[in-house]
């Protein structure tokens, strides 16, 4: 492997690490298409992408843990519900494959879901009513009702025992958590994707988990899904350490920066960036699917350029917002004499 390629992978890893640490999504979304365009076999692109996601999620989860932003109990419940949901989603996918409609239905559903969640999250953040939760994730700190999205308030109001405490200072029925996890798992299994872009907003909008904790808990779940996925691909020799090692060297730093930024950047801004990332992702996936339909490989490159451009733009905005907030905080709290 040439030095230029190693530098490219480290830089690319840094970019993805920032997004991954900040949003709890975006790993395989970005890496796998890039490796495919670079000429790697599909199974190596997917397997190495999953191994990279696994390593990055370990680092990002550890960093979020340092910031008190991981709810392990919620994460384990989410893993249980999501795993069951994925199995059901896979059955739906197999049925569509049987009747020959899988490709088109999954593509359209994926684009609509990405775009739909992107529009919803951006709209809610711009409107400012989707929850202006601050970064206080103290387990004992109660959130004001107006800070919790309406659907989450409704779900929290169902008093079906056993009730469990969630980081952020509220209780919710265990069955509601499992139901939300199951629903996100069905979508994840049906679309054949990791599902970070579904789970993170689901944790916030449906259960009412503060955004930084939703990101940290989502990453905790990805440690397990990424680990199992990459193990399965590694059994067939589809994980290339020559790709994973330099990508991880970059993403380890990026994940620290991204995770640290969730503690600085305004929560509404996090949602806007997340929504914009998903919208641009939806456009990129749509372009790639159209390229496949029209048998125009050039559209694969256009799709990748849109995704990389979006990643560069959004990670740049994250770093810029973090630096700006750091300066604003410094000027708002003048040094005190001891």
């Amino acid at each position: 492997m040439s030095l230029a390629l190693i530098v490219l992978f480290v830089g690319f890893g840094l970019l993805i690490g920032i997004l991954f640490g900040f949003f709890g999504m975006g790993g395989s979304f970005l890496v796998t298409p890039a490796l495919l365009v670079m000429g790697y076999d599909a199974n190596v692109a997917v397997g190495s992408g999953l191994a990279f996601v696994f390593g990055t999620s370990v680092i990002a989860t550890l960093k979020h843990r340092d910031l008190g932003q991981v709810d392990y109990k919620l994460g384990i419940l989410m893993i249980a519900g999501t795993t069951a949901g994925i199995e059901v989603g896979k059955v739906g996918l197999e049925y569509l494959q049987h009747i020959g409609l899988a490709g088109s239905v999954v593509s359209v559903a994926y684009v609509l879901l990405l775009g739909g969640i992107g529009v919803f999250v951006t709209y809610e953040a711009m409107k400012g009513s989707g929850g202006g939760i601050d970064h206080d994730v103290d387990e004992d700190a109660d959130l004001e009702d107006e800070e919790i999205p309406e659907i989450a308030q409704k779900i929290q109001s169902y008093n079906v025992p056993p009730m469990i405490s969630i980081r952020g200072g509220f209780k919710v029925s265990l069955w509601m958590v499992l139901a939300v996890a199951f629903a996100t798992g069905v979508l994840s299994g049906f679309l054949g994707v990791g599902g970070g872009f579904i789970r993170m907003p689901a944790l916030f909008y449906l259960i009412g988990v503060p955004v930084p904790v939703a990101v940290g808990t989502d990453l905790f779940e990805i440690v397990f899904s990424g680990g199992i996925g990459s193990f399965l691909y590694a059994q067939s020799g589809a994980v290339n350490l020559g790709i994973v090692v330099p990508l991880l060297a970059g993403s380890a730093l990026g994940a620290r920066v991204g995770a640290g930024a969730t503690n600085l950047v305004n929560e509404e801004d996090i949602k806007v960036y997340f929504g914009v990332m998903l919208l641009l992702g939806a456009i990129a996936v749509a372009v790639r699917e159209i390229g496949g339909l029209l048998e125009m490989p050039v559209l694969d490159v256009v799709s990748l350029a849109i995704i990389l451009g979006a990643a560069l733009l959004v990670s740049g905005a994250v770093v810029y917002s973090g630096v700006t907030m750091l300066r604003e905080n410094a000027s708002a709290s003048p040094p005190t004499a001891d």
């Binding site: 590694a234 991880l248 380890a252 300066r327």
Partner: protein, 49 residues
């Protein structure tokens, strides 16, 4: 019953994923140490610029 070939493949896969995990932990500790050393000066520099 697990065949010898699949067991070897599983052990190899486990070692490979273990290597990725080890790299992740080493990087986390390494960058953490770098953050301890250089984090505050960098943050102060950003605040004062």
């Amino acid at each position: 019953m697990i065949g010898g070939g699949s067991l070897t493949a599983s052990v190899d896969a486990g070692m490979l994923i273990g290597a990725v995990l080890l790299e992740a932990i080493i990087l986390y500790i390494g960058y953490g140490a770098a953050e301890q050393l250089f984090g505050e000066p960098v943050v102060n520099r950003i605040k004062n610029n």
